[in-house]
Symmetry: C2
Subunit: 214 residues, 2 copies
């Protein structure tokens, strides 16, 4: 069972800390603001008032022993500084939030493993849901199992899965096709694909992200 630490218990950090606690994970919450610590007493496994942008403090907290550290600090410079220190003390996996894409690029450059721009991600997902369009994003269902929707272009239009040699050609499994607002399962090599279709394919994230169009 992994050990989590969340630095910065604003809206973002607290939401993640709660999500983790709900799933039975042990979570240490760290915030420099006493009020924040008091307001969250009893809700997290452990709470510590500390300023994480200070290497002695990080060492005292034993932050390098955590499996995952989430940086919920919004302020750009302080978030970057904190992440840099976490890299220096050797934290294994860091997730951090970013305010915008410039902030995101800097965080990835200094070695953050996963960046989230909370409002942008939510805005995108909700917009997709509301536009009645299909998810063209990659959706992770498990560590080794993701699904993506990919548009069918000119090249294979009118051919069936057998003729395309789908699995061999793309390295992923075609499971469903979305055409004119309806979804149809793809279970036979006779199933045809046409230009404009969206094919849902499953496989590992790394295999899926390489496929731009069919």
């Amino acid at each position: 069972n992994k050990e989590f630490a969340v630095i910065g218990l604003g809206g973002f950090g607290l939401a993640i800390a709660r999500g983790l606690v709900k799933r039975g994970n042990s979570v240490l919450g760290i915030d420099k603001n006493r009020m924040v610590i008091e307001n969250n007493a009893g809700e997290l496994t452990d709470l510590v008032k500390a300023d994480a942008s200070n290497i002695e403090t990080l060492n005292e907290l034993g932050i390098a022993d955590f499996d995952v550290v989430i940086v919920g600090i919004g302020a750009i410079e302080r978030s970057i500084l904190t992440v840099q220190l976490l890299k220096e003390v050797g934290v294994e996996f860091i997730m951090a939030r970013a305010q915008n894409e410039t902030h995101e690029h800097i965080l990835y450059k200094i070695g953050v493993d996963k960046v989230i721009i909370p409002e942008k991600d939510m805005g995108d997902r909700v917009a997709m849901m509301l536009s009645g369009s299909v998810f063209l994003d990659i959706v992770d269902l498990a560590e080794d199992f993701s699904i993506a929707g990919i548009k069918v272009g000119e090249k294979y239009s009118g051919m069936n899965l057998g003729e395309i040699e789908f699995r061999k050609t793309f390295g992923v499994t075609a499971i469903m096709v979305h055409r004119n607002g309806k979804s149809y399962p793809l279970n036979s090599p006779e199933d045809k694909l046409f230009k404009g279709d969206v094919v849902f394919v499953s496989g590992r994230y790394e295999e899926l992200e390489n496929i731009k169009e069919i």
Copy 2:
């Protein structure tokens, strides 16, 4: 092409408005705060300074002509009042944010079509991602195609898909099974399921949400 209106351009409303605009949708932004309107000039299709918790204003805005209205107002009473007025003028599809589950229940009771608790949804999704566990949520990939991960219990343990008569019994298609940290495709009636497995199934959202355990 649908017409969207977003009432309340705080963090949530603005994120959704931007997500929609990015996808080529036309979006009317409505906010009672002049500063908010000025700060977003040029970014949305149209911007109007107006107080939406007022039925004459809603009628003047022609809000009933929009296909989808998103209520981004955070304040609980004002959000409920605004939604109630939108129902009264006959808006076809309403999405609204809620602060917590009580607020969410009230909104569903008064007829909101879709409620989002932004921080809770994000906290849950990120927590699932970080715990390295499988997603047990229902994931919507298209209006008629969703996927859910469902735990296998005692009842069918050791039986294969053919013996279980999976599709007939559950009304959904089994596509993948996750066992001991690995995922395996389910393409044959000979494939067995065991207690503790997570089976990924696909189908319409309404069929999936009724299945609690296998």
